[in-house]
């Protein structure tokens, strides 16, 4: 668990910190609590995506050939670019936290904005990918068309593809919203080395969303790609 130990002086000062909520005795206790809470939330998220991953893995094993054939319709290049974009955005969100620890107010804002922009790039590329699928009639539904044996199983592949990447995109949008909400207090100088808990928790969340993609990309795009 990530936690930075606090200087005694900072701790003493924290007793009167405006951000201290009434139910806590100290800012440190508050920080530990919210970090632990965030980790627990991420556990629930892991279990949430875990259900989907389980379904995917089960079908991937059962319908190996069809799923491999269907996955060839995904754009590995765009997926790879998106992976790079997301990893870079994880770096920028970490730099925003680092800026807070260094008491660099403008740095926080800069890196928050950059992270949001990178998120936007990811979603933009994702939209391009989705529209390709739409043009190729690969969106599950009445217009679904797939050349090859067992199109109904390919449809399951694309159902899972859209649900998994769609939910991931939804998490990205929520994350971008939270990051955007942090810009104003950051600009006002609310976060510095003594208090940057909201930044840290949002950063954890952003890293998590990144990691989900790190699993989605090989599972959906790469598995069986050598066979094409």
């Amino acid at each position: 668990m990530a936690s930075t130990t606090m200087e005694p002086e900072a701790d003493a000062a924290a007793h009167h910190h405006p951000a201290l909520q009434h139910q806590f005795d100290s800012l440190e206790q508050q920080k530990e609590s919210s970090t632990l809470g965030m980790w627990l939330f991420l556990v629930t998220e892991i279990m949430f995506f875990g259900g989907l991953f389980t379904a995917y893995v089960v079908y991937r094993r059962t319908f190996q050939g069809v799923f491999a054939a269907a996955s060839h319709h995904l754009d590995v290049t765009l997926g790879a670019i998106n992976t790079a974009v997301l990893i870079f955005s994880s770096l920028t969100v970490a730099l925003a936290i680092w800026s807070a620890q260094m008491n660099r107010r403008k740095g926080i804002v800069f890196f928050l904005v950059l992270t949001i922009l990178l998120g936007g790039v990811f979603l933009g590329i994702k939209t391009v990918e989705y529209s390709h699928k739409f043009h190729d009639n690969l969106v599950p539904g009445p217009n679904f068309h797939f050349d090859g044996p067992s199109p109904e199983k390919a449809e399951i592949f694309f159902s899972l593809y859209f649900i998994m990447t769609g939910l991931h995109a939804l998490h990205m949008i929520i994350g971008m919203g939270v990051l955007a909400a942090l810009i104003r207090p950051a600009w006002k100088g609310r976060y510095d080395a003594s208090y940057y808990n909201p930044l840290e928790c949002t950063g954890l969340y952003w890293h998590f969303v990144d990691i989900v993609w790190i699993f989605l990309f090989p599972l959906l795009y790469l598995l069986g790609a050598h066979a094409r």
Binding site: G51, L52, V58, K153, I156, S159
Partner: protein, 559 residues
Amino acid sequence: MDTTATVSDTTLASPETGYERPNYLNAAYGMRSWLLTRDHKRIAILYLISVSVFFALGSLFALLIRLELLTPEGDMVQPDTYNRLFTMHGVVMVFFFLIPAIPAVLGNFLVPLMIGAKDLAFPKLNLASWYVYNLGGIFTLWSIVHGGVDTGWTFYAPLSTQYSNTYVISAALGVFINGFSTIFTGMNFIVTIHRMRAPGMTWFRLPLFIWSHYATSLIIVLGTPVIAITLLLVAAERLLHLGIFDPRLGGDPILFQHLFWFYSHPAVYIMILPAMGVISELVAAFARKRVFGYRFVAFASIAIAVLGFLVWGHHMFLAGQSIYLSTIFSILSMLVAVPSAIKVFNWTATLYEGSISYQTPMLYALGFIGLFTIGGLTGTMIATLGIDVHVHDTYFIVAHFHYIMVGGTIMAYMGGLHYWWPKISGRLYPAFLSRLSALLVFVGFNLTFLPQFVLGYLGMPRRYWSYPPEFQVLNVLSTAGASILGVGYVLPLFYFIWSMRYGKRSGDNPWGAIGLEWDTPSPPPTDNFHTIPVVTRPPYAYNEQEVHDRTSHPEARVG
């Protein structure tokens, strides 16, 4: 409530003195002060109201089900109506009553009090949880009002995804949303228990109520998201005609069952573990004795939480699951009986050389031990593969899980409510009436569900709107029991409401109980403690002098 306050602080609050010390109830007035509160105690009261509404609704459905089953011919309602009744009974009772009841009402009120904290770690999240709960409830009620759902609370595919033309999506979304409220509560408890214990409150000084809520919260956090995604897939499948669980489109309906039970079996432990925590508190308080084998009872909670995640396949012995898998799930399911047995034996042994009083909460607690024993033993019977072949999906199963959920969870919930009611309201309820209701619940319950064990072994399948005539006598007995049970549940509703205004003042500690929650006034002040307590000893350290000193003024004390 009268609120003129001028008398000195040492005087016992009573109608005669007309004095009430500042507490969480009189801290502020008006709807706003309740609807925007962040006080865990007020949120517990809000939950108490919501949960009671859903309990009443679920009970109404149960009553209609039992009335229909009075005669073998389906002559009261149409089969489609009957199917909606038992589905809504299950959905409302499981997701909107049994799962939140003890954690969200008693747990919310007591977890901070018992560990010596000013509030839960995330008060806003706690309030949000109540709103989310009600939002989920509204979705579910919407589907009820518009004609209901008829898939069974288990939402089995492909019935739920392709064949049912009822309001599956809104009901599933209701349950999905409700899941968040449960998750919020669970996260709040874990963080609070980890980070906000009073000085000196080590893990082995925690009351067993806290241990069991900790174990429960672990299950909530790990399990609930899985049902969320499962129900989301069901809704998506209906809405977009996907084929993930539809065999006609290559999907696998058994995968749905795996995902569903991966949560829904541990959910049983979400319901029973907090109940076990309540019982540990009640038995200790009314035997005035430390719970026998404290550490064993504490670790048994954790063991149940862990094992609970490894047994879901016992719902699928007959669904075409491989025999090897079934064997593994069978033995693991039976292992759950060991920590459960440890608890039952330890509670019973706590009575040995105790100083037992038969107050209403204790009657519920002793009833719980008996009924839970039956529920647990029949549970191991149906985990036995050879028996499950015959009794699976019959009334034997129905009887078994009602012994755990009604005989276990609701008995404990009622017992806990009676025990902490003076803490919550500062008032006492009528002793005779409350004992009578406890007795009615116990007798009515057994009369309702014992015959169902026989019915089940005779082969009466569950979810039947009509049935062969030879099953009638047992069904009549069951319906008769249900009406007695109903009276037992209605009585407390009246005398609790009555006691809020007319009940005798209880003083701070009418039972002479020991525990941090009793170290503060009843009802407690908004910040729980005037000074944060320092803990220096293990829980349940009963001694005569202290009991004497701490018990409320003689006119308000009980027992």
